[in-house]
Subunit: 318 residues, 2 copies
Amino acid sequence: MPGTRLDLARIQAARRVIDPVFLETPLYRCEALEPALGCAVSIKLETANPVRSFKARGTEVIASRPGSPAVVCASAGNLGQALAWSGRRRGLGVTVVASRYATTAKLERIRALGARLELVDGDHELARERAAAIARRDGIRLVEDSLDLETCEGAATIGLELVDAGPSFDAVLIALGGGALATGVGHVLRARAPSTEVICVQPQGAPAMTRSWHERRVVTTGPTNTIADGVAGRCPIPEVLDDLLVVADDAVLVGEASIIAGVRLLFDHAGLVVEPSAALGVAAILEDPRRFAGRHVVTIVCGGNVDPAAHRGWTHPA
Amino acid sequence: MPGTRLDLARIQAARRVIDPVFLETPLYRCEALEPALGCAVSIKLETANPVRSFKARGTEVIASRPGSPAVVCASAGNLGQALAWSGRRRGLGVTVVASRYATTAKLERIRALGARLELVDGDHELARERAAAIARRDGIRLVEDSLDLETCEGAATIGLELVDAGPSFDAVLIALGGGALATGVGHVLRARAPSTEVICVQPQGAPAMTRSWHERRVVTTGPTNTIADGVAGRCPIPEVLDDLLVVADDAVLVGEASIIAGVRLLFDHAGLVVEPSAALGVAAILEDPRRFAGRHVVTIVCGGNVDPAAHRGWTHPA
C-alpha cells in the first residue's frame, strides 16, 4: 500500500513511553446495545482515565521526548487537558488556547491541572492561529493536533490494542476531527488487520475533512454547527488528509439527532457517559443499519468530557 | 495474622482462569472528585465489561472448574447476570432466582443472556431459600455468593490488581453486602499491603453484616430499606463473618442521602454511571470527611447496573 507518515515501529515505541494508566483500555462486547443497532457491537473505552479521553496517549509521547521546556496548543478541550496532565507530570510548561465557547467542564479541568488557559472570541480555527502566534512570540513549541506525528502515534496505540485483542472486527468506527485518531488507528489496521473496514464518522455540521476525503483535496468550510465540539474543525491539514486517503475505507456524515440518540443509547444501555464526538460511531450505525447488519463492529468511545447539564438534556429531553 | 478461608496461591490461580475481559480494570486517580471529597481519590472501575459488575470474576472461576452441568443461584441481579454470562460461554445451565422487586435492568440482562429466571414474591433471603430448594430438587449445584470460595477468590483478584499497581493507598473503601468482595480484597491487602486500611461500607438500611462485625457474632435484621439493592441482605453467613473479622479494619454505615449524593458526584465529576452499591465508598467519605482528609483513598466502583430512569432521578432531582 502507499505509505503514510506513520510507522509501526514508532507506534510501538510510543506505547512504551505512555503512562500505563492510559493503555490497555477496556475492550468488550456490549450486547445490551445490540437490539437497538442490529449488529454485534464492541466498545473500546477511552474515558476511564485521569483526563477522560484518548488524547493523553499522544501528549504522553510529546512530553516524554526532550525538547522545548514549554509548549502551546489550540484545543477544543481534550488535547489541552491531556497536554496539561502530561506536562505537569514532566515539568513542561503548558499553555492552552481555546474558544470561549468550549465546553465548560473541559476548560475547568485544564485550569485545575495547572495549565495557562487563554480564551479567544471565536472558533477552533481562531484558537489555532492564536496558539501559533504565541509559539512564535515566546519561542516555544507549537503542538498541532493531527499534524504533529506524536499525536497520531499516540492515538495509533489504540489500533495496536485492537489488533492484539485477537478476534478480528468487520469494521471499526472512528470519530473524525483533525484526523489523528483516524489516521493513527487506520494505519495500524491497514498494516495488521487489512480486512477490517476503517470507517470515519463526522457530523454533518462539521464536514470539512469528510468532504476533503471524498474530493481527494482539501475542502474548507464555513462555521461549524454541531454539538460534537471535539471534532468541529473547518480547515483540514493537507498532510493529514494525504494519510487519511491511504488508510480510510469510507468517511460518512451523521446528523445531530443521531448523535444525540447515540449519546442516549450509550447511557441507557451501556451505562456510559460520553461526549457527542464519542457517539459518532453509534450514530453511523443508527443512520445506516443495513450496512452493518450481522457484522461485528467496534466503536472507539473516544471521550467523556461533557457538561452534566447538557448530557442530562440529551438523555432526558424535557 | 489469624487465617481466613482464603489463600493467595488460590487467588492467583483464579486470576489465570478468568476471561481477561474482566481483569486489569481501570485504576486511576480522579482529581475532579477531590474538591468535593477533601482527599486524594482513586477509582477502581468494575463497570466497563460485558456484565457491568465485578461479579464475573467469581463466576468465571466457578464455570471454569469441572462439576455440575447446571447451577442455580439467588441474586439481586449482578451475580445472576455474571453467572449467566460465564455459564453460556462454557455450556453450563444456569438458573437464577431473584426477587420480583429486583432492578429491572438486571433481570432483563439475565434473561437476555439465556439463563432461566425465577422470581420470588419476597426479598433476597427468600430467593436464597428458593434457590436452595431448586438445587436439592434438581440435584444441581447451589452457588452461594460469599460462602462459596470461588466468589471470594474471584473478587480477591481485584486486590491483586490494587497491590500490583505500585503506589500504596492509605485506605480502600469496599461495598459490604454478603462479604465476598470485602473478604476477598481484604485478604489480599492484609497479606500484601498491611498498612492500607480496609474499610467496609454498608447502608444504614441494610446493616446486618456491619452490626455483626461490630458485635463479633451474626446479627440478623428485619426487612432492608435501601436503594443499594446489591448489598441488601439480612442474614450474614457465619463463615464469611469470621473472615471479615480477620481482614477488615472497620465497617461503617451510611445514609441514603449520602448514597444518592455519591451517585450524583460520580456522574457529575467523574462521568460514571454507577449503581447505588458502587457509590457507598464515596458516601462514606462524604459522611466523615475528617477521617480521610489528606489521605489517598481508593474506592472500588463495583457495579453499574441501574435503571436509567432511577439514575436520572438521583442525579437530576425534579
